[in-house]
Amino acid sequence: MSAKHLLSCHHCMLIHDENSLHCSFCHATLHRPEPLNLQRSWVFLLTALLLYFPANLLPIMITNSLGTRTSNTIAGGVMLLWDHGSYFIASIIFIASLLVPIAKFIALFALCLSETFDLRLDAYNKTTIYRMTEYVGRWSMIDVFVVAFLAGFIQMGEIMSIYPGPAALAFAAMVIFTMLAANSINPKQFWDKHDE
């Protein structure tokens, strides 16, 4: 039997025939496979892209040390760490905060474009890209957590204090919107044309 004439309950995964309206076990409404909600994915993706600029151009962390005030952008912070010889940490932040978001944007744009213009890319490759964006994207939050934790911890008045910059929130919002964009893409859609 082909899965095309079957519906799986999203909640308890019980399989029903295509004429069922409600799950016979948990009574949840059974959702018919709807056409990809691309509009929603695009809105989330473009919002994330708009947030990308303040997230990277504004300072993410402001340090007050013995009367000197320094503010750093994400890229500035990475360079500072590199100069201090913390190559490993600098690499983690560089990958998580700079490389991953760009890679995620490229991947999500490729997926949304290929669905919008119905490009027949290989479903298996699209699924692999999708799974990677879903899994790796969240790790970008690490720099926001570092700044938030340091600001909560290092408050010693004039000796040394750390404050979050405006980019921290912009960056957090950007990551959340890319997560929402990835979440609104249903990889099953990639496979619908696969059988034909």
């Binding site: 308890c12 340091l150 408050q155 000796i159």
Partner: protein, 223 residues
């Protein structure tokens, strides 16, 4: 109506293929033949493992909130914080949005997640499931998507390395508790399988309802 003969089948939620998944042996898993996604995995004593790891995680989380987390000293000045103080400091800096976000990430979602796991798996173990257990299973899935406490923990380690050259850092009891919390939560998640749990909830519920249906049938026949 659901199709009884497909009770042991799964529609791959990644590619939509209908796959027959028989009752698995302990330690084995079933993959989708088309997109290779792991559909379900059966762990040895999965329910017990999830339950005990979740309870340990919850105890560690509760412990980590109340005691000294980290202590730093610079030029003779000392500052010690608890995990919650790292958040309340943000609120006192008027960083309301960031403070709220961190409260949700550090303790909010993890506490909800672990409590729901304990309730869900506990009710399966005590055979006290109902159709509403499925709702909990669904919520657990949502919370898992947004839960990022392991990323936060890595963030703490990065923060410590960042300031290691500037100040002397002392690690408190809470820090270890939060580390163990992350470990136990990870172990619980590794033993968690949605398909197996959904199947267990369905079967336990049907099992409980079956004798009642039989007796009502008999009563109507007699009547």
């Amino acid at each position: 109506m659901h199709i009884d003969s497909l009770n042991n089948s799964v529609i791959c939620h990644q590619c939509g293929l209908l796959v027959d998944v028989p009752l698995l042996q302990d330690g084995s898993s079933a993959n989708c033949p088309r997109c290779a996604k792991v559909l379900t995995k059966r762990h040895r004593n999965a329910t017990d493992h999830v339950l005990y790891f979740s309870i340990s995680a919850l105890l560690c989380l509760l412990y980590s909130v109340g005691f000294g987390f980290l202590e730093m000293s610079v030029q003779g000045q000392v500052r010690q914080i608890t995990l919650m103080e790292s958040v309340t400091t943000l609120f006192s800096l008027q960083e309301m949005a960031l403070g709220t976000l961190m409260t949700v990430i550090i303790v909010g979602l993890p506490a909800i997640y672990v409590s729901l796991l304990i309730y869900l798996v506990g009710s399966i173990k005590l055979k006290r499931v109902s159709r509403h257990s499925i709702d909990i299973l669904t919520v657990v899935g949502y919370v898992r998507f947004w839960n990022m406490c392991e990323i936060f923990f890595l963030g703490i380690l990065v923060s410590m390395v960042k300031i290691a050259g500037l100040a002397h850092i002392e690690i408190g009891e809470s820090f270890w508790a939060y580390a163990f919390f992350n470990f136990f939560l990870f172990a619980a998640i590794m033993h968690f399988d949605k398909v197996q749990l959904a199947r267990a909830i369905r079967e336990l519920t049907w099992e409980r309802e079956r004798p009642r249906q039989d007796s009502t049938n008999e009563a109507s026949r007699v009547g």
